[in-house]
């Protein structure tokens, strides 16, 4: 059990570092989602189920959705900006 936990913790660090150094934002967000999921599993290992559910629903769920929507919104503004100069 302890080994499994160490592997997960190592995975956490790898995710955290790779979020910093990936070029494309979308992959960064996906890695961040996986970071939250690993954290959720660690909560279960640390015998605190309340936190696991909350982290799953709030951390992995809503935060990642918000990140995706922000990225979508930015892509929409960038696309609209490219259309405008053409018509303008």
């Amino acid at each position: 059990m302890k080994l499994f936990e160490c592997v997960l913790l190592l995975g956490l660090i790898v995710c955290a570092v790779s979020v910093g150094f990936t070029r494309d934002l979308l992959t960064a967000i996906v890695i961040f989602m996986s970071y939250s999921l690993i954290m959720c599993v660690i909560w279960v290992l640390l015998q605190s189920p309340d936190l696991a559910i909350t982290e799953a629903a709030v951390g992995a769920g809503v935060t990642s959705i918000l990140f995706f929507v922000t990225l979508k919104k930015i892509k929409a503004i960038r696309k609209e900006e490219q259309d405008e100069p053409k018509e303008g």
Partner: protein
Amino acid sequence: MSRRKDNYETSRWRQFMQWLAGEIDPLTAAKVGMIQEKAETLPDEKMERGKVSTLQATPGNESDEREAHSAAAQAEKAAGQAKSAMAAEPWLNQPSGESRGLRLYRRFYQVMSILLCMGIISVLLWTIAYLPIFGNAGNPDNNEVSARYIEKGLDETGAVNMVTGMILDYRAFDTFGESCVLFIASCCVLVLLRIDNDGGSESWKKRQTEANDRIFEPKNDIILQKCACVLVPVILVFGIYIILNGHLSPGGGFSGGAVLGSGLILYLNAFGFQKAERIFNGKIYQRITVSALTFYCLAKSYSFFTGANHLNSGIPLGTPGNILSSGLILPLNICVGLVVACTMYAFYTLFRKGGM
């Protein structure tokens, strides 16, 4: 004799002499002198701050015990980090034309960030070495406080799940502040992203971008709709279960609310805004949030007031184990669940479309 400096006219010494002689008005002239100075003072001001941080180091290693070093190291780290924080600002003043300075500066920026990261991690790891061992029963934080929560938790709060009991009864003021954090965050996002159509060309343009947003929405994507038909009811039931059983099994207001929220978001994504607005629009959102928070506020102030003035609050705790037990905790869980669900849903719609 010394060659006269080429820019003698604009040199500050001459302006100073003029000021002394009282010919020029120091207000306007001061501006001319200042602008040249600005570029020079900023770099040397950074060296000056460097001196300040080294200044702190000297009192540190005067007394050679180890903790003095850690304080100085810590202050060094803070000053180092401050230098980089400040580094962002002066770099702006130099026109970006000087590419050489820029490149040198960016490398300095990189080195500084790695150094700072290593510094903070090393200080914190060094402190961990002196902290109590992970997981052994004798740790200082396993003291009479948690013992009472466990032993008397059931009969004082009636909650089987001690964590919820602690959150909503023993340390209720934190959670009360907590829901206010969520409320103020939703107000801020409302300020930023809500588009009000109270006339004016500017809001028409916003309405136009909103229509543009619908283009991205998958129109009646059959696969998504079919999955949603299966998934959404399950998610909503699961969310309601978590909220209602907050005081019996793990979960509670926050997590249940988030699950409900994501269920609503899935429904919105699958069936589009028209259908979602039929059951859940701006007005309902506002009413639910305000009524839930008001009930929460009144219930909690009642229990604080009675507690502080040693009156016994006549709320029955019920028999532990079944749903209608543990006094106020159930209704509070429901309120928090509703608030969190509505806020998560509102976040999503505001981000997507700037309005319910």
